[in-house]
Amino acid sequence: MYRDRGVRVWAIASADARQSDVEYFVEALDIDMPVFYDEGGVVQDDYITLASVPAGAYPQEWIIGTDGTVVYHWSQYDHDAIVDVLESQL
């Protein structure tokens, strides 16, 4: 998929859960991409969650372009929009 074309796909678990819970979750679902635990909510503080219902809507996707700026930020999985953005960056 897009990883073969150089896109880094990183899953970051919100620090709402314990790290051990995240590990169980990742192993049980056999998630195959790098998973990071947002210890101390450091990433969450910088990447402020979308203000909408439900509060702290999950999952949220951010796409950072090849130049280091944010090019996409949304919640839910809008497949078409994500594909369009990734294609425009490659």
């Binding site: 897009y2 169980y24 790098p34 990071f36 796409i63 839910q76 078409d80």
Partner: protein, 495 residues
């Protein structure tokens, strides 16, 4: 959200299914049906569902009903319950935390005993009141369950990598990663003895129950592997059947084999020639198929997200009875007398099956919908994974700026329909509304979907804040070092 992570994580094995509403496109990616270039779907004629959201009066019987649940408050803390075996009204359950003995009587499910502690992945009954367990790090343990309250471990054998178990001909067969299958004499369970070995397995997760002189390995890399036990102390590993997917579990029943293949579903194979299992058909699962069980002509499957049941009286034509989401992550199942016993992460559940019910089971493609403030049209897919027709009997939206349409008001078993929500927002103000859908799904006739506006504009074009994180595998990454590559961050929660 589970769907998103599964989609992102998949490396598209040949037989992987696309999610509901998506089809395989030209470049092998999953594309939304509406974008598929040669989609054979005719132009949709949108209809207005009847106004109103009330449960129909005549809901009918549900084929699958959760009747009992034992949870951490009732028993020792067990996570990740991976395997379960039944012996009459006794259930043995293992997971991270040890071994649990349960009275498996619907209406009176209760814990009888707990023991051993630690982290196991498979269990097998070896008769005379003893169990064989395989440990994550250590290999085989033999446990004496004649002491029901606190069953002790009485013997150990083997090493890490020993996982799958099968009991046949008074021998315990254990699969070993990167090796093959060991034959263990357990006639004296307190002193298990390795008596034979057959090479030729790669990443075996489980061994089936015996089928004549054969057992079958579920091998992640090789597929379904027949093992000839004509000479019980010399298991002979035969030619693997490559099904193009990682096989996680196998169940045999009569002349049929059911292979759980994760995202590829459940592969049904004929054992007319036991040395050469032959693929006949594949049953789709909602999530990742990890275990099946067969009892009294019913096939039960768990797939992380829930339980699905088919009537396999005609094994070449399985008839779906129903499918329900379980509260947590369903990883193990055993069944008898039209009751499925499901290990659902930290809960042990009894599900009662009504094999005459033909009830629909609706799954929505998304549990909430976000709109940009400028207005947009969004679609939800309704999939019917049950055994009877799904009827959409009404819909309401709580905001006058929203209009709802449906592609159909009746969805046959196995089919999908679409609900289209149009948000027109001339004033440009926020949306905080709810869509209500009424169906004849007895588990939950009223579906409530939050609809809201979100704003993506604030961060676009700004430099992404840098961070350093260490992955669960120990890989350290810094965002700013990825310059030149697009980075997609998926921020998620485990609930």
């Amino acid at each position: 959200m589970l769907l998103l992570l599964t989609l992102l994580a998949c490396d598209d094995p040949p037989l992987a299914r696309c999610a509901a509403g998506f089809v395989r496109g030209d470049n092998d990616a999953c594309v939304h049906e509406s974008a598929a270039p040669d989609s054979a779907a005719p132009e949709i004629e949108w209809i207005n569902p009847p106004e109103g959201c009330a449960a129909p009066a005549n809901l009918g019987e549900d084929a699958l009903v959760l009747t009992d649940s034992l949870s951490p408050g009732d028993m020792m803390s067990l996570y990740e319950m991976l395997d379960v075996e039944l012996d009459g009204t006794r259930a043995y359950v293992i997971g991270q935390g040890g071994l649990l003995l349960v009275d498996a009587i619907p209406g009176q499910v209760s814990v009888v005993g707990e023991g051993v502690g630690d982290r196991f992945h498979r269990l097998e009954q070896i008769g005379n009141g003893f169990l064989a367990l395989t440990h994550r790090e250590r290999g085989l343990s033999i446990v004496d369950v004649r002491n029901e309250q606190q069953p002790p471990e009485v013997a150990r054998l083997g090493q890490k990598g020993w996982e799958g178990l099968s009991f046949a001909n008074d021998r315990l067969y254990v699969s070993a990663r990167d090796e093959g299958v060991y034959a263990i004499d357990v006639s004296n369970p307190q002193a298990p003895l390795e008596v034979g070995f057959g090479a030729g397995l790669s990443a075996p997760w489980e061994l089936s129950d015996p089928h004549g002189n054969w057992i079958y390995a579920a091998d992640n890399t090789l597929g379904v592997v027949p093992i000839d036990l004509s000479d019980p102390d010399n298991p002979a590993v035969g030619a693997a059947v490559d099904l193009g997917a990682a096989i996680l579990h196998v169940t045999v029943s009569g002349d049929w084999l059911y292979a759980s293949a994760g995202g590829a579903g459940i592969m049904v194979l004929s054992l007319a020639d036991p040395a050469k299992p032959e693929w006949v058909l594949t049953l789709e699962t909602n999530g990742s198929a990890v275990m099946t069980a067969v009892a009294e002509n019913l096939l039960y499957a768990v797939d992380h997200v829930g339980l699905a049941v088919w009537d396999v009286t005609s094994p070449a034509s399985p008839l779906p009875l129903g499918r329900d989401l379980s509260p947590q992550y369903a990883l193990g199942v055993a069944a008898a007398d039209d009751v499925a016993w499901v290990t659902d992460w930290t809960a042990f559940e009894a599900w009662s099956i009504d094999r005459t019910a033909r009830s629909p089971d609706v799954i929505l493609s998304s549990s909430s919908v976000l709109f940009p403030v400028r207005g947009a049209t969004r679609e939800l897919t309704l999939q019917n994974l049950g055994g009877g027709d799904l009827e959409l009997s009404g819909a309401t939206v709580s905001d006058p700026r929203l209009t709802v349409y449906a592609s159909t008001d009746r969805i046959a078993p196995g089919e999908s329909g679409l609900v289209q929500i149009v948000f027109t927002n001339d004033e440009g103000s926020e949306l905080d509304a709810t869509l209500c859908l009424a169906t004849n799904d007895a588990d939950g006739p009223l579906l409530s979907v939050p609809l809201a506006t979100g704003s993506d504009d604030a961060y676009i074009g700004e430099p992404a804040p840098d961070f350093v994180l260490t992955s669960l595998d120990g890989e350290v990454v810094r965002l700013s070092e990825q310059i030149g590559h697009p980075v997609m961050l998926v921020y998620f929660a485990t609930w």
